[in-house]
């Protein structure tokens, strides 16, 4: 069965031929056991280098499974993922970083040691580690807290520590799994601004998984809409925002049109996911 194709647009013109930074073809994920589950796919996906791509879909549609497979944390049951020309199969390739919804800061380390943790294990010399950590601490607004432990920080600040820990490794492809899911709306908007700044400065390709349609609409160049489980891409939408943008975009009339379009694509799938598609669909 062919996967639903979501082709790269991003910084290039939509539909323009461009070498994929990340390509997925016919990717599925099944889980065995007493009750076998077909969790994902088939999925086809092309991401252009430097693109900000968001994935939205109903609860339980396999968004996080998709992230695991693309990051190399979990091998696909079928199909293949190719990152920078090399296949990804259950091993995290160099150049990919991920930030998760749950707090993944190490509570026994200070903010500074948390951020330097991965870097210290890559053979980078001490001066370079110091330089990159100083930059990340400043960039993420953690200067006054570098000696603090995660327990002394708010949820948003702990998430910034996790982003900084990924940032210092200078990934070329960053996967974000609902990183602001546990934060309040105002903080999410501001964290979104920081994420856009990070994206512009690093030039990394970003794939953001979110359940918040406004977040997807505000941050991304392109949004892929997934079906109820097993998750497949049913459509994709190009937002058309300029690269220089921030959370003030939510006041634009076009922003409302993008979120409305996303919801119209997602509504039936969300109803299916909660088991009331027949009763409530128009």
């Amino acid at each position: 069965m062919p996967g639903n194709a979501v082709n790269g647009g991003g910084s290039g013109a939509p539909g323009a031929p461009a070498a994929s930074h990340l390509r997925a073809r016919g990717v599925t994920r099944h889980y065995g056991g007493a009750l076998p589950v077909h969790a994902l796919g088939p999925i086809d996906l092309d991401l252009v280098r430097g693109e900000f791509f968001a994935v939205v879909g109903p609860s339980g549609c396999g968004k996080s499974t998709l992230l695991d497979v693309l990051a190399g944390l979990s091998p696909p049951s079928e199909g293949e993922v190719v990152f920078e020309g090399a296949p990804v199969r259950g091993e995290v390739p160099d150049g990919i970083g991920a930030v998760f919804q749950e707090d993944a800061s190490f509570p026994w380390l200070t903010v500074r040691d948390n951020i330097a943790f991965g870097l210290r294990r890559t053979g980078v010399d001490a001066a370079e580690i110091r330089r990159r950590v100083d930059y990340a601490v400043g960039f993420m607004g953690l200067k006054d807290f570098s000696a603090a432990y995660p327990a002394q920080l708010s949820g948003g600040m702990r998430q910034r520590v996790c982003i900084a820990r990924t940032l210092v490794l200078q990934p070329r492809f960053i996967l974000l799994d609902e990183p602001f899911g546990a934060l309040d709306q105002q903080t999410r908007l501001l964290m979104g601004d920081e994420l856009l700044r990070l994206w512009r400065e690093t030039g990394a390709t970003i794939l953001l998984i979110t359940h918040a349609l406004d977040e997807a609409a505000m941050l991304s160049d392109r949004v892929g809409v997934m079906s109820a489980r097993p998750g497949r891409f049913i459509d994709s939408l190009t937002t058309g925002w300029p690269r220089e943008r921030d959370s003030r975009i939510v006041a634009e009339p076009a922003f409302g049109a993008v979120t409305a379009r996303l919801w119209s694509l997602l509504r039936v799938e969300s109803l299916k996911a909660i088991g009331t598609a027949g009763a409530a669909a128009p």
Binding site: V92, A98, F106, P107, W108, F117, A151, T166
Partner: protein
């Protein structure tokens, strides 16, 4: 005064008050000196015992036996716990045994251990080890169960090998529970060894307490009991302070 300081002062006042009360009851004759000697006399008797060097060998024997039982139980308990955590099917089979482990009166096997190993410190090490190991196994399982999976995922994203993930992420994340295991293993090793010495042994603090008891030597008996109590309290408090320091860093604000 902070709330913590107030609690500490209240606790100290309760202990001092109880000791003073026992002292007064002993001196007033309400408590028969054949039953209990005044705490002040216990302390003096202990000072005499320590100064005379009479209990030096007992102290060395008991503490070296406890240390051996403790070290073995922590190592074996941790390894068994880690293994059971990695093998969920075996764990399901072993779980009921672990849950009912402390329902077994291990001391009934002590004569058998003496028959097997002779009247030396080996049966004591074995009884202390058997008594303490399950606590370490259970704490290790508890700790490993509570390591958030996202931390292990983060370790994979940071390209840590499985061995480094265990050393640098899993163990520190499980540390508070492993610490509980250490505390329990120490307490159980102590109980196992001293109780074993009580039942049948040629030396050690437990043996000396039992010997003084059978000879109506209340002064020595209570002095030794005070010594054991003081050592257990100091060790426990030391571990408690260390644990609190560890937990304070992690307590969510």
């Amino acid at each position: 005064m902070s709330r913590t300081a107030a609690v500490a002062w209240t606790r100290a006042a309760v202990i001092v008050g109880a000791v003073v009360l026992v002292e007064l009851l002993c001196h007033s004759g309400v408590i028969d000196p054949l039953t209990l000697i005044p705490p002040s006399e216990m302390a003096l008797a202990l000072a005499d015992l320590v100064a005379s060097g009479r209990i030096a060998d007992d102290i060395v024997q008991t503490f070296s036996t406890v240390a051996t039982a403790f070290a073995l139980s922590v190592a074996a308990g941790f390894l068994a716990g880690a293994l059971l955590h990695a093998l969920p099917r075996v764990r399901r089979a072993v779980d009921p045994l672990l849950a009912s482990y402390y329902a077994i009166p291990f001391f009934v096997f002590y004569p058998l251990l003496i028959a097997l190993f002779g009247l030396n410190t080996i049966p004591l090490v074995v009884i202390g080890f058997v008594f303490a190991t399950a606590a370490m196994v259970i704490s290790t399982l508890n700790g490993l169960d509570r390591v958030p999976p996202v931390l292990v995922k983060a370790a994979r994203m940071l390209h840590l090998s499985p061995a480094r993930t265990i050393l640098l992420v899993t163990l520190p994340a499980a540390a508070p529970y492993l610490f509980t295991g250490l505390k329990l293993a120490l307490a159980y090793s102590f109980i196992g060894v001293i109780a074993g010495e009580f039942i049948l042994s040629g030396g050690g603090l437990g043996f000396s307490i039992a010997f003084a008891y059978t000879n109506f030597d209340n002064r020595t008996m209570y002095a030794l009991m005070l010594f054991v109590l003081a050592v257990a309290t100091v060790m426990n408090m030391g571990l408690h302070v260390w644990e609190q320091r560890l937990l304070r860093r992690r307590a969510r604000a």
